[in-house]
Symmetry: C2
Subunit: 292 residues, 2 copies
Amino acid sequence: MSWIAADWGTSRLRLWHLSAADELLDARSSDEGMGGLAPAEFEPTLRRLAAGWEATTVLTCGMAGAKQGWAEAPYRPLPCPPLGPGLTAAPAEGWTVRLIPGLSQAKPADVMRGEETAIAGWLAANPGWDGVICLPGSHSKWAEVSAGEVVSFRTFLTGELFAAIAGHTVLRHSVGGDEIDAAAFDEALSEALSRPEQLAARLFSIRAEGLLSGLPAAAARGRLSGLLIGAELAAARPWWLGREVALIGAGPLTALYARALAAQAVPTRSAESDPLTLAGLVTAKRLMEGRS
Amino acid sequence: MSWIAADWGTSRLRLWHLSAADELLDARSSDEGMGGLAPAEFEPTLRRLAAGWEATTVLTCGMAGAKQGWAEAPYRPLPCPPLGPGLTAAPAEGWTVRLIPGLSQAKPADVMRGEETAIAGWLAANPGWDGVICLPGSHSKWAEVSAGEVVSFRTFLTGELFAAIAGHTVLRHSVGGDEIDAAAFDEALSEALSRPEQLAARLFSIRAEGLLSGLPAAAARGRLSGLLIGAELAAARPWWLGREVALIGAGPLTALYARALAAQAVPTRSAESDPLTLAGLVTAKRLMEGRS
């Protein structure tokens, strides 16, 4: 029987249709993320996006398992392998839907939902790998993996901070557009790494330089991005200093992290997150069936 | 002739009606701040709020003089006294309207509009005073005053950061209500002062503790406030270490700054900002007329 693998995040839903032998048959995505859905809307949303696929078994990771999601999947406490036994059933008439639990860390308090599946995909592609994984995003994650287990991780609000500051403070007048000036990014990154405590003052300077000397929007945006990623790297220093970092992500944001880490002489290996998440979902399916 | 003193900020407008001898006759305020007004709307807004007052001379400080305000008043570069000659005229049929210029600092780039008038009011009430002034707010300011001149200042985005994070990130689920738990504030303040670079990670911990251990909203709000004010104090350390600080502001926010500085054994003298701004406007009027 074919089946459906799903990555149901806060803002996006990705579906893959796979054969019984886990070969990719089709893929679809939509912006119907968990953030915009009431619990009763998950089932019809899934049926609509999967229309025409002959599959009634669904395995999903991500925010569909959050408290405000389709059904609440518990967190598995560290240390533990990224995937394990124990899936949560979600209600869907005539279908079998299973949610992958997230991971939790007691101290410092932290949680993840979805990234554990990408980490499992990374380990499936790199058996026996030990080291540090960084997953840039709205909530960037740094995770330490050892002997097949996630032993610690830390989440940074960096991506959401960028959006909140660029959209909802006086800096919105300064950072318009999508372009990032690389030199401004590099300079701000270096400033933030050397004096991370100056963040709130440096943020206002972006506005002041716009008023006093006409700082261009791409430079202002580069500065904001450099300050925030620099602050994250300053806090995450023990994770990357003298290490190789596996960067799991996609697009311009992950490229900025690679650039920032390269500037600290940190070697990185990059991988796209979607294929790794799919590989993790396939691993979870095999675990579920005792095939692993 | 009686006249009108105005403090036209981003979100609020305050008007005072004063006699020719600068005695207070009446006061009014509204939420028609500069942020919600087009340039042509300033004059009718003023006439409506001042209806019935027999005065046609208006002296205003604040964001009415911003580029997007009533008329652009230039910045005066540091070092300089908080008020000086050179006012900008704004168009108003049959009225005399004058805007007080803001102050600018070249390096680090910084600007203020309105706080210079409160600082002038503080100096009018404390002649010959030298020292550090902190003005908490959406854009907190720290200013060094010496021999009647503002010699340097620094703006922190702290208040706007609080609003943007509390309203537009995942923390909005955690920090509802208005209450601030004082113990949570104190603990977060101390954490932020000792390791300010951990800000972005500590912010996400507020959410994680809400999910994992049901952190109450007042504690989450106290934590967020303590982290952000602590980050500001960490960056502003050279301004307050071993000094007395004049705190100019109002309400619960200024009380939090007083509490935070007291925890660092920094003596503070507090003053309400509205009366000081009015005193500064009166000083500016006398300067304008050569009466000072």
